[in-house]
Amino acid sequence: MASNDRNRSFVRIGIKFCGGCNPEFDRGSMANRIVEVLKGKAKVVSLQEGEVDCVIAIQGCPTACADLDPFSDLLVYRITSEEEVVRFVNRVVKGLFP
């Protein structure tokens, strides 16, 4: 899935969710927050439709049961709480992403 195209100015990101059986936070709104902060820095791409450079795995609890096997050769950011969303957003804001 990873691309070697070094001329691109943005990183292509896929968002992978767990199934949400009993989430401890609103995964959808957290994903929207991440997409918002990534505007201009990265492009969010559907995991079904396009190649991605890295994956943000948004999982509703520490069990973190989403199947990440298809992304084993990619950089995967694992998020299992709102605090981790905040840390991730701060990382992006500080230019530390990816």
Binding site: F17, C18, G19, C21, N22, G28, C65, D67
Partner: protein, 481 residues
């Protein structure tokens, strides 16, 4: 078409020509009937969530036949991970709908038949498994909802099928033809039957040679000639006919059950998965029952809704800080999460059957379902305790809206000053719906009797526990051995 959209699902139901009766009359438009439609909405949710990235990790699986992405409800479990995801999917959908979403029974039928058709072939040299796999591919390709029909009316409980005064009290073969068989009988309590494309029939109890004509399993389109449906009533069902959007409690979703009559129905051979192999009936019943007992994971999701409603009602009443209220909420959560433990445990401890299908741990599935026959009743009792008597004495929505009475309803049922009276009444109606209304069919009595009544689980628990090992452990510690 690997996965239907919710809209495609609804349209596919409109193309069916089901023969449905309710209140003594033929229902001409099943999909739009106000009493039936909430149940269709609940099944429709299983299609909707499969298209949303936030839920696909549970709702979507990869077919072991085609490699295509399919709705998990048509999937054959390939490992314990699949079984765990099935349990989690049940909780997810229970919480989204607050009721029975009806589609698990078809999934459980498919998985049970995938095991038992293989085993029959191994012993009898038949070709049922190949037939079944072709049928399974058809179900997966079309993303069908299947009704799993097991429970016969059973007539006189003292008598086996072949001795019943009315032979049709257990569904049976009445004619064998070159191109198939003709069956007659009925299946009772059929959850979601009117929202299904297919009906998968299985026998209901273990049988002997004399009952061979009753040892039959097959699948048919739900609108096959000779099949008719008589809708079951639910407590408070006609509130859906009253207009308004409050007194139903759950405004969007519901369940349904029906009596399905097979009046001399023809089944082609390629749809027959068991024919007189009475020696495998018990195995099929047990395999299906174990899967279906696991499926009561859904009640955890409905429990989530009821606990959320009870907490909300406590806050609207201004009672949420009372220590006994907090303790009751803790107890409700304890019971609900204990149920979750059971459905996860029986999945995690699953095993591979000779056909390759993964089966749940039967003992733990029975323990889980046995808990389900009890805990929702206690959760419901606590919810009613917290809600207060107003839940069953408050006036109707029409009284709330009436220029003559509305001001009094508003005035005297106000509690927390920051909460509109209507909100308080709405949350109480939802609790009433789950504890006493249409959804109580699914949350309470179905929890008691669905997938087998409590005694059925106790028999299985007695049979499956490793008593010799327990005795050995005890004797060793006290020096007997």
């Amino acid at each position: 078409m690997p996965m239907m959209t919710p809209e495609q699902y609804e349209e596919s139901l409109r193309r069916l020509n089901l023969v449905v009766y309710m209140f003594g009359k033929r229902v001409e438009n099943v999909v739009d009937d106000p009493i039936i439609r909430p149940s269709m909405n609940a099944v429709k949710k299983t299609y909707e969530l499969a298209h949303l990235p936030e839920y696909q990790d549970l709702m979507v699986a990869t077919s072991h036949l085609s490699g295509d992405k399919i709705n998990r409800f048509t999937h054959i479990h390939q490992n314990t991970g699949d079984l765990v995801k099935k349990s989690k999917m049940g909780r997810l959908l229970g919480r989204h709908t607050g009721c029975c979403f009806q589609r698990c029974v078809g999934m459980d039928s498919l998985n049970a038949l995938s095991i038992v058709t293989y085993n029959i072939d191994q012993k009898h040299g038949t070709t049922y498994h190949e037939r079944f796999l072709k049928y399974l591919a058809y179900v997966q390709e079309n993303d069908f909802t299947c009704d799993g029909a097991m429970t016969d009316p059973k007539g006189d409980r003292r008598l086996p099928p072949h001795k019943q005064p009315d032979p049709d009290h257990f569904l049976h073969v009445v004619e064998e033809r070159e191109d198939g068989i003709v069956v007659r009988g009925a299946k009772a309590h059929q959850t979601g039957a009117l929202n299904s494309h297919e009906i998968i029939v299985m026998p209901t109890i273990a049988m002997r040679e004399e009952d061979a004509d009753y040892a039959v399993s097959f699948a048919l389109p739900s609108d096959a000639e000779g099949i008719l449906y008589i809708m079951g009533r639910q407590s408070c069902d006609t509130r859906k006919l009253e207009g308004g959007n409050m007194d139903q409690g759950n405004l969007l979703f519901g369940g349904h059950e029906a009596l399905v009559v097979f009046d001399n129905v023809f089944v082609p051979w390629d749809r027959v998965f068991m024919y007189k192999e009475y020696d495998f009936v018990g195995q099929l019943v047990e395999a299906f029952a174990a899967y279906h007992r696991q499926s009561y994971a859904c009640k955890v999701g409905v429990g989530d809704v009821l606990i959320g409603a009870a907490q909300t009602a406590a806050e609207y009443n201004g009672a949420e800080k009372a220590s006994h209220i907090k303790d009751k909420i803790i107890e409700m959560n304890h019971l609900n999460e204990t149920l979750f433990c059971g459905c996860i445990a029986c999945a995690s401890e699953g095993h591979k059957a000779p056909s390759g299908t993964y089966a749940v741990n039967t003992l733990l599935a029975n323990v889980h379902k046995h808990n389900v026959t009890r805990f929702p009743y206690e959760i419901s009792r606590l919810a009613q305790d917290i809600a207060g008597g107003l839940m069953v004495t408050m006036p109707s929505e029409k009284d709330l809206r009436s220029p003559d009475t509305g001001k009094w309803v508003e005035k005297y049922f106000k509690a927390d000053p920051d909460t509109p009276t209507e909100h308080r009444l709405r949350i109480l109606r939802l609790i009433e719906n789950v504890c006493l209304g249409t959804a109580a069919v699914g949350y309470l009595t179905e929890s008691m009797h669905g997938a087998g009544s409590p005694q059925a689980q106790r028999i299985m628990i007695a049979r499956l526990v490793n008593m010799e090992e327990k005795k050995r452990a005890a004797k060793k510690l006290c020096g007997i051995e």
